[in-house]
Amino acid sequence: MRSRSPKFASTILLATLVGMITQPQSARADEDAVMSDAAVVAFLRDHCLECHNAQEAESGLDLSTFSQAADVRNSVTAWAKIAARVGERQMPPVGSSMPETETRAQFVRWIHNTLSKQLCDDGITAGQPVIRRMNRTEYANTVRDLLGIPINAGHALPNDGAGGEGFDNAAETLFISPIYAEKYLQAAKSAIGHALKDPADRKRIIVASPNEERTPNQAARLVLSNFLSRAFRRPVSGSEIDEYAALFDQAFAVDDSYDSAVEFALVAAMVSPKFIFLYEQPSKPGEQTLVSHHEMASRLSYFLWASMPDQELMQLADQEKLHDVDVLTTQVKRMLRSEVDSRGLRRDSKVRGFASSFIEQWLGTRALGREFKPDTSVAPRYDSELEGGMKYEPIFFFEDLLSDNRSLLNLIDSDFTYVNRRLASHYGVRGEFREQPKRVELKKSDRRGGLLGMGAVLAVSSLPHRTSPVLRGKWILDTMLGTPPPPPPADVPALNEAPSASGEFTSLRKQMEAHRSDPQCASCHNMMDPLGFGLENYDVLGSYRTQNRGKPIDTSGTLPDGTQFDGSDELKLWLLKRKDQFVRNLTRKILGYSLGRSLTGEDSCAIDSIVETLAKDNYHTQTLIVEIVKSVPFRYKQVAPPTN
């Protein structure tokens, strides 16, 4: 078992829940009335203590001992959760004593200010140095770029689970099972074998051969010094070249073939942990250190390309320029570029490595065709071209935002999207399309735009055979706003959304209304259900519809704060009003992805400052990426100081 210092463990605790601080940084401004500690005690007494007291401690939360702001320091996680629940009107539950809207807002603001003070006043601190293996996607991309051949060398590797902020590049869940070494060995043999078959590719890798002027060993050294520094993503030492040259010699001694002995040494390099692992030199414990220039090159390339650094990044690292913020900014913009060809199609781009890994996991659309397959009874014409169009729409859309530096708010609503031929006809969008997704301007009558108009999103938040307003509402709260509702209590039967035996479907809304009459259910369903009903004009695969089973669809709803809306357009307007919360959540997700780890309380201070900059800059997508790259957690590392 892994032992962790208490200090580190408490950091982790912060990590999990501080993410629930969802209010914008701007709310910290002093223009708002600030609650006194006494007023907070009174709020708790009037609205919380009936259940969260010393005796009952509902959900394990006892608030009876709270007396002053300093008490928050001891239970940061709990307080972050309280802010989220009260802010979302999930607490206090329906039927209990409700605070005035303004008092509620003040209370939530007080928590945010207090937490932020506790965590950020000492400055932003960096996380541990990176040490993790490449994930399956990164491995495949890296082998592709290292050897310069278009193969998927990762196809036989096990796929990776996700940790932290929900991504499969999180260090903590990149396990190594016994099966891995064998897989890497097979994959390396096979990939190098293919690369050396083509004379042009071969020449790029085997850069030297023995001749009158150089012995086989000397030639092999030339090949190795070039290859090893690329494979290990840093300059290699003389002794490292010696070691691999010795391996070449051993093979050459047995079998008198230069090519096969070199190939053998290259395979070894690709099975070495120096290739398989992304790792950084530890800092002195407790000392915040800039990551080295070569470490920075890898941080950048695995963030924005899900692959190894290219020659330009390596050169800048060799020249020690990657601590320069202006250089970093220029590099980020270069790395995000994706070309559009004369037919208006986005060419293959390296930034797609980031766009697809990030967006598919953030939105959950990777499940399409995997965990989620629509039922043929509701999707008789579902085929691979439609599935491809659906899956690629959010990826190309996000790539467009990144490359063309558009506003992040396009994710909430936009006047364009990306469709292929099948998806265009699925949406009823006019134009000339082929199999590859292409940008299309949307008219109001298309009823698309933003994530909530995308088939893939609408599908993965449905059940295979019908839509589920509950799941869609939950998707909005969790994925877009970063406030996942808690699981239903164990002793409450799940909502029966199924149509009755006679096929009557009108009862769905009524059933859910009945369900919400139970205050235990109401506190979350009052929010989830109306949000989900707002999207009922879209069927399981996101086709627009005005009726369901012969009955007109009612998309109206009232949110707990009294906001009334009808249909997806008004739903998007409501989301735009919460843009700060949305952008904060997105920033958190991208920062988590960029660092390949769970975020900590300290990281949320970096998020605060990034979100502030973004708000001043009209939410430009490249600004978000540049600010992340310039942030302390991205540029620094720190080994946790020793305890006691």
Partner: protein, 460 residues
């Protein structure tokens, strides 16, 4: 009922260029002839050593989302019982079957409805609630206890198989990473074992393990030595904070190192199976990605692995926790698995739930029958195996880990008292069954996790 499955031969295609280019195909395309030849010579060389004392094998098959409880448990107990409606397809195997009632997994009671009941299914522990950091199952799974015992005897210590890729994302709703719902085999508290999801790759792995290429053996060992030295060097360089992953990689490299070493020394075992792995049993690369066919191919791989004694321990997951797999390939089923399991006593949902349960049992029967047709010396491979079948929760609607649906088939070489329905007192530890299975396996232990004794009556 399952639709008629197409004959495998209908979609067997010759090896295409594409499949070669994909990679592993190329590594295996050529050595067939050489492999066949070496098989023959080695089989005759080793005949003297063959013994009728066949080894015991153990597999665990995991089904997500529980069962329809009113159709699962047989009414009568003892030897003279009748199979319940769900278990009907096991009729022919009744003598080889042990039905167990009232076992529970106390460790998985708290937490959430699915993840703790999946990762904890074979560990009988309470896993840490975690989105990633501090992920820990607080034990190891019983199959790995078995593998630790038998691993040295076979080319591969254990096989971990599944169908669904690790479910994406973390479940912010309940606060668990979905890694937990995608693994049942744990070789240590923080080491869930990655599963092989492609039947063809399973075959290739079995084949590589049992048919080393002599030409590359020596070279591969040199290579692995280099890799091991690099790993040691990094481990020193990286400081103490996170050596664990490097240790895991070291172990992973050492395990093939060891295998090559054994192969170079001419094999490891005294016992030799009657059957060698046959290249013609290799699943096609271009097989259609249909769930029922894929499940059967995976079960075929378990049977082959056991028959050829390439491994003696295997786990298989029909699906990940909370699997929403669409079972509409079954006539009369329209919904996803998880949604259907939340039946709320709705009659139509219960009927569909039952059909899904029955399909799973049919697959179990398919594997058992296949093993029962594999003769080895005086008996069959099934006789020498223990094939556990079960779910981490009973009723999908209520998620409770009481009275779990648990079956064992095969007598583990005459050690398990099959042919009965054994009913225990309420909340008898599931670990008591595992303790008995491990003891029958010869793992030299009679305890496991929270076990209190070996289930009375389960052993002969």
């Amino acid at each position: 009922m399952a639709r008629c499955l197409p004959q495998l031969s209908h979609w067997r295609h010759p090896l295409t260029r594409r499949s070669l280019l994909r990679g592993t195909g190329a590594a295996l395309a050529l050595p067939w002839l050489e492999a066949m030849r070496s098989t023959k010579t080695r089989a005759s060389e080793k005949d003297d050593h063959s013994s009728s004392d066949a080894p015991t094998r153990m597999a665990a098959l995991f089904v997500p989302n529980g069962v329809r409880q009113d159709q699962w448990t047989p009414e009568k107990t003892g030897r003279d019982y009748e199979l319940s409606p769900t278990l009907q397809s096991l009729e022919k195997l009744k003598d080889q079957l042990l039905v167990l009632t009232n076992l529970w997994n106390q460790g998985s009671k708290i937490g959430d409805g699915h993840y703790v009941k999946t990762s904890g299914f074979l560990t009988c522990t309470t896993i840490n609630k975690s989105l990633g950091i501090d992920l820990n199952c607080n034990g190891l799974s019983m199959d790995q206890v078995a593998a630790n015992h038998s691993g040295k005897e076979t080319p591969i210590p254990s096989l971990e198989l599944g169908i669904d890729p690790v479910t994406t994302g973390v479940d912010t709703n309940v606060g668990y990473t979905r890694v937990y719902g995608s693994h049942i085999a744990w070789s240590g508290p923080t080491s869930p074992l990655a599963r092989e999801l492609n039947p063809r790759m399973v075959f290739e792995r079995l084949f590589r393990a049992s048919h080393p290429k002599k030409a590359t053996l020596k070279r591969d060992r040199l290579l692995l030595d280099r890799v091991l030295t690099d790993a040691q060097e990094l481990k020193l360089k990286l400081g103490s904070s996170d050596r664990q992953r490097m240790d895991e990689y070291l172990q992973s490299v050492r395990s093939i190192e060891k295998r090559l070493q054994n192969q170079q020394a001419g094999g490891i075992k005294n016992w030799r199976p009657l059957v060698e792995l046959n290249p013609k049993d290799r699943p096609e690369d271009d097989a259609p990605d249909q769930y029922p066919e894929k499940v059967q191919l995976m079960l075929d791989m378990i049977a082959l692995a056991f028959q050829t004694d390439t491994t003696r321990v295997c786990t298989f997951m029909f699906g990940n926790a909370v699997s929403g797999r669409n079972f509409s390939f079954l006539e009369g089923v329209t919904g996803g698995h998880h949604d259907t399991s939340h039946h709320q006593n709705n009659e139509d949902k219960l009927r569909q739930y039952q059909l899904i349960n029955m399909w799973h049992i049919e697959q179990y029967a398919y594997l058992l029958e296949k093993l029962a047709r594999m003769q080895e010396h005086e008996g069959t491979v099934l006789d020498n195996s223990m094939i556990l079948y079960g779910s981490g929760l009973r009723d999908g609607n209520s998620h409770n880990p009481h009275n779990l649906p648990i079956l064992v088939a095969g007598s583990g070489g005459g050690k398990i008292a099959t042919g009965q329905h054994l009913q225990y007192g309420r909340d008898t530890p599931l670990a008591n069954l595992y303790a008995g299975m491990l003891s029958a396996f010869g793992a030299k232990t009679s305890t496991f996790a929270d076990s209190t004794e070996i289930l009375p009556g389960m052993l002969t």
